[in-house]
């Protein structure tokens, strides 16, 4: 277990509801994440875990519920001004399943964009911060490459650097290794573990139970739009109470 739990709440979700064409994916989810914590969201496909993660930075706008990140609170039951959404997104960073580096920008530009364009950081300082972030994920020397010239694992490491460089309040990781070749998975997992060790708050959606077991300080299990169990990895993964989780875990661990 890693993470530096300080007790201060950074992310708080209250009563999050979300439907897609009449199909309720999230049924009033409450969740709190404390500073320095690595929270892992587990659950079967279609359970709503990715949707839940995407509600934190409003890539999916909840139909109802309150999202708070640091000092920004948005109540999605009413009309939400774009300005607040921007503020929320600027406090978070996301690592996507498909890396999603900007195809038309170099590695360095990918990492500096969030600093120069969004946060008005001076070019030189942005470059320095970007190089430092790239070096921390083992991607020194790749600054001038384009994403297409990198392997999936390298692209994902750059995308983690992009998230780190902006020093967000929380990094949201959406199945960061699901699209990778099996041999590249451990590279990326190692980087995530290393980042977790530096006290960065993270929410990690993953199918990799063993990795979640190692890196997470807390685990929630989502099923059919609700959190059905929550606790330390020891509690939820080693000794789950719900038979549904036991069944799920035994299938996943058998792979």
């Amino acid at each position: 277990m890693t993470g530096h739990d300080t007790g201060e709440t950074v992310v708080s979700l209250k009563g999050i509801r979300k439907s897609f064409s009449g199909n309720e994916i999230l049924k009033g989810v409450d969740l709190e994440v404390r500073k320095g914590e690595v929270l892992s969201i587990l659950g079967p496909s279609g359970s709503g875990k990715t949707t839940l993660l995407r509600c934190v930075n409003a890539l999916e706008r909840p139909d109802a519920g309150i999202v708070r990140v640091d000092g920004t609170t948005i109540d999605f039951s009413g009309k939400v001004p774009n300005k607040q959404i921007l503020e929320l997104r600027r406090k978070t960073a996301m690592v996507f399943q498909n890396y999603n580096l900007f195809k038309n920008k170099t590695v360095l530009d990918n990492v500096t964009q969030g600093l120069t364009v969004v946060r008005g950081v001076a070019k030189n300082e942005a470059r320095e911060r970007a190089l430092k972030a790239l070096s921390s994920v083992g991607m020194d020397g790749y600054e001038d490459r384009y994403p297409v010239q990198l392997s999936g694992g390298q692209q994902q490491r750059v995308s983690i650097a992009r998230a780190l460089a902006i020093r967000p309040d929380v990094i949201l990781l959406d199945e960061p290794t699901s699209a990778l070749d099996p041999e590249l998975v451990s590279d990326v997992n190692d980087v995530i573990t290393k980042v977790a060790g530096t006290g960065v708050t993270m929410i990690l959606v993953t199918h990799e139970i063993r990795f979640a077991r190692n890196v997470a300080s807390r685990v929630v299990f989502v099923e059919q739009g609700n959190i059905i169990e929550e606790g330390t990895p020891e509690q939820v993964i080693d000794n789950p109470q719900s038979p549904r989780i036991k069944e799920f875990l035994s299938k996943m661990m058998a792979k």
């Binding site: 960073a93 996507f96 999603n100 038309n104 170099t106 364009v117 994403p147 010239q149």
Partner: protein, 229 residues
């Protein structure tokens, strides 16, 4: 070959090269602007504006360009007259430019829309996730990637527009072909084929230049797709 083809006829025709270029470039610029606006509406929510643009586009796509030029040339002064404005003495070229810009903007809109729909949604979401506002996301992610997908079709459109400037003379806006026709009729048709052949060569050279320009531009846009730099 008429003895003065290159010394007499060619310079006289080339005097109208600026007119041809004007009838090409002004509608292109206007249409790029208007077409982008139309495109923004067409990829957005299906509100009243969306349907207005859709009708506008299907009209201009579904009627011959020459008919549109006549409609604008004869119709626009009547519309202005209703508001007490007399534009009968406007240069015919202005009507040609208006009609072409309207027509072209519809095709540019649809070309850009195709390009936009071809952009990976993940790229757009990533822009939002790092905190770009809509304009920033448009400038840094959507526009460059849309253009890259759309550039081949834009090239075809621009070549068509250049060639279609040759119908401007039908409403009295004189350009290359118009001046050639005038020379031909002044000579009672002598050397007609030579002169028309010369005009064809001029158009061909211009289109080749556009072709080269667009090819260079698209190579530049695709540089990030080359696996080994």
């Amino acid at each position: 070959m008429p003895s003065d083809l290159l010394t007499g006829v060619l310079p006289r025709i080339l005097q109208y090269l600026p007119a041809t270029l004007l009838y090409w470039i002004v509608p292109s610029v206007l249409a790029l602007f208007l077409g982008t606006l139309l495109c923004v509406v067409r990829v957005g929510r299906h509100n009243i504006l969306y349907w207005l643009c859709t009708v506008f586009i299907s009209f201009f796509r579904g009627t011959p360009g020459i008919v549109q030029i006549y409609l604008v040339f004869f119709g626009l002064p009547k519309v202005f007259y209703l508001f007490g404005l007399d534009i009968d003495d406007w240069d015919p070229g202005v009507f040609f430019i208006i009609a072409t810009a309207l027509n072209l903007s519809c095709f540019i809109c649809e070309t850009l829309r195709g390009g936009y729909l071809g952009v990976d949604r993940g790229q757009i979401e990533t822009g939002l996730s790092i905190g770009y506002n809509r304009v920033q996301n448009f400038i840094h992610v959507i526009a460059p990637q849309t253009l890259k997908v759309a550039v081949l079709n834009l090239k075809n459109l621009e070549i068509d527009v250049l060639k279609d400037t040759s119908v401007a003379y039908t409403i009295g806006a004189v350009e290359i072909l118009g001046s050639a026709k005038a020379i031909i009729s002044a000579q009672y048709g002598t050397g007609q084929l030579w002169i028309l052949g010369l005009v064809a060569i001029i158009y061909f050279v211009l289109c080749s230049l556009i072709e080269v320009g667009f090819t260079l531009a698209s190579h530049r846009m695709e540089r990030y797709e080359r696996r080994y730099a």
